[in-house]
Symmetry: C2
Subunit: 325 residues, 2 copies
């Protein structure tokens, strides 16, 4: 266990700006301060000024390590020593595995047996113990629960946890400390941890920044939940965005309802178009799920015309042999 | 023409540290301060700590805009107004085209008709006038010369020019101002503008930084020139690295002889291996020519073992449909 770690307080309610700032300080030395990049030629194509906060260059290739570290640092020494457990098919698995490695404890990850081989290999390389399960939520939850009880582990939720929400909020904190004059701040939404944390920060820093969550229209639970003000589940998840097939949780949804201005859904073909623009114009590798905010601009050019837009580029874990273009 | 531009003095001899610092100040507002990134998992694979200065995220997708801006800013107002000309099959074409766009003048670019379609389209998009020529050096030089005389243009050399050398040196300036404790600084070498500028800066900042130029062993003019102390030409250029097929020039070679510690040549298979590592572990798009310094580490692991190594990642202009892996 990392003896010098900061012990963060346990959060019993939605994190405040100060809570997120405290998490930012605590995790700073463990993570990369990711760069913000832009491209004039991309701006000309989409008709507005876009700034990308590159969590694709974060440790583990995605933003997920922030939330995992935040949750792990709020455990007692005794809890942390015993180890942490989660279920995930993707980036959260790597985030938890890396967190355990950094804090010198054990990670147990339940992964569906059809998870991407790249993500499974990476999780293994970070030293985590992988347990396979059936590719459905019941099997994932049951397998993780069994492990948790057997080894007395602490469960790290991928999103429905105040510490995780606070961890993901540190991205917007870094972003807006450098650029507080954005008109819009866009983030993908799946379980809503990232969007919830982002919205808390944005609304505190400036009421004028419009916060928008974006999701594939083939996994549109957030859109339907947001506008009906009732928590709903995905009816389909047949999107190329493997990281955006989850549903909002009971902790993330109220925060999103309170702070987010809009949810936009986007078409698959525009996600692929946006992804290609990021590869070709920004020279950054990203996974399809990262491209949904740019797809929202492509689908709504008039709305964003000449505005200053911030996008959180969330992750880059994909198989180079399976590009959709 | 940009009325507020800094007019840089004409350089009659090899640029000094102060000359390069002056260029850095003059071009700063036109370019991106590119980030420095690293990856622990990549470090574990290669056995040393590697820091990449990402000129792949520079305007135009490569470092070339620095040298072109430096040369253009040293022209008189009258010269700059008439326009600039160069011949290039690749990144330098885009650097000169972008420079003209930024400084509000005209660019005339001579490109071999078999140039990469991606690079040709990008050059056109930046508003340059393209003239096709035969794919050999005689045709390139003659076509550019004709244009230069007809329109009274200023020629911007891709590398064999003190202003260009000074411009490329600004990368090492930014890099080493942030990290002056590197053991090694590696850059690809073709015409030698980047390596010459890099070596002037590195030797001034710390004598302890070993500066190494790296090139494909299928285009090894710099290696043979350096160790024989006589300027030699490539015998073959059949490398995947389309940006590294040029020969050292009479202005770059003496600077390299004076300041560079070593030239290393690398095998094609290791260039591809290194390129793939950069894509998969750093999540950065880069062209093969950018990967040669990392290939040098892969081929000489013992030499670099546990050291702190800086690499200039030079460019990312390639066709996504033609990946070598």
């Amino acid at each position: 266990m990392d003896e010098k770690r900061t012990r963060l307080p346990k959060l019993k309610q939605s994190p405040s700006f100060d809570d997120i700032e405290r998490v930012g300080m605590a995790i700073k030395s463990y993570i990369h301060q990711t760069p913000i990049v832009s491209s004039k030629s991309l701006d000309e194509i989409v008709g507005c000024r876009v700034f990308f906060k590159c969590e694709t260059l974060q440790k583990g290739g995605a933003f997920k390590i922030r939330g995992a570290l935040s949750a792990a640092l709020s455990l007692t020494d005794e809890e942390l020593k015993k180890g942490i457990v989660t279920h995930s098919s993707g980036n959260h698995a790597q985030g938890v595995a890396l967190t355990a490695k950094i804090l010198n404890t054990s990670a147990y990850i339940v992964m569906p047996h059809n998870s991407s081989s790249v993500k499974m290999r990476a999780t293994e390389e970070y030293g985590a113990n992988i347990t396979m399960c059936e590719p459905n939520i019941e099997s994932r939850v049951a397998t993780a629960k069994k492990l948790q009880e057997k080894k007395d582990l602490s469960f790290i939720s991928p999103y429905n946890d105040y510490h995780v929400i606070a961890g993901q909020g540190t991205i917007a904190l870094e972003f807006l400390k450098k650029m507080d004059d954005l008109n819009f701040l866009l983030a993908p939404v799946s379980g809503g941890g990232l969007l919830a944390g982002t919205s808390i920060i944005a609304k505190e820093i400036s009421k004028r920044i419009e916060v928008i969550g974006v999701e594939p229209n083939k996994a549109d639970d957030a859109y339907r939940s947001f506008y009906s003000k009732k928590l709903k589940s995905n009816k389909t998840t047949s999107t190329i965005c493997d990281a955006l097939r989850g549903n909002l949780g009971d902790k993330t949804f109220p925060i999103i309802l309170d702070n987010v201005d809009e949810i936009i859904t986007v078409k698959e073909k525009n996600i692929i178009k946006a992804m290609r623009l990021i590869w070709e114009r920004l020279n950054l590798v990203c996974e399809p799920s990262s491209a949904v905010p740019l797809a929202a601009i492509i689908e709504n050019k008039k709305y964003f015309k000449n505005k200053k837009v911030g996008i959180i580029l969330t992750g880059a874990n994909l198989n180079l042999q399976e590009l959709p273009f």
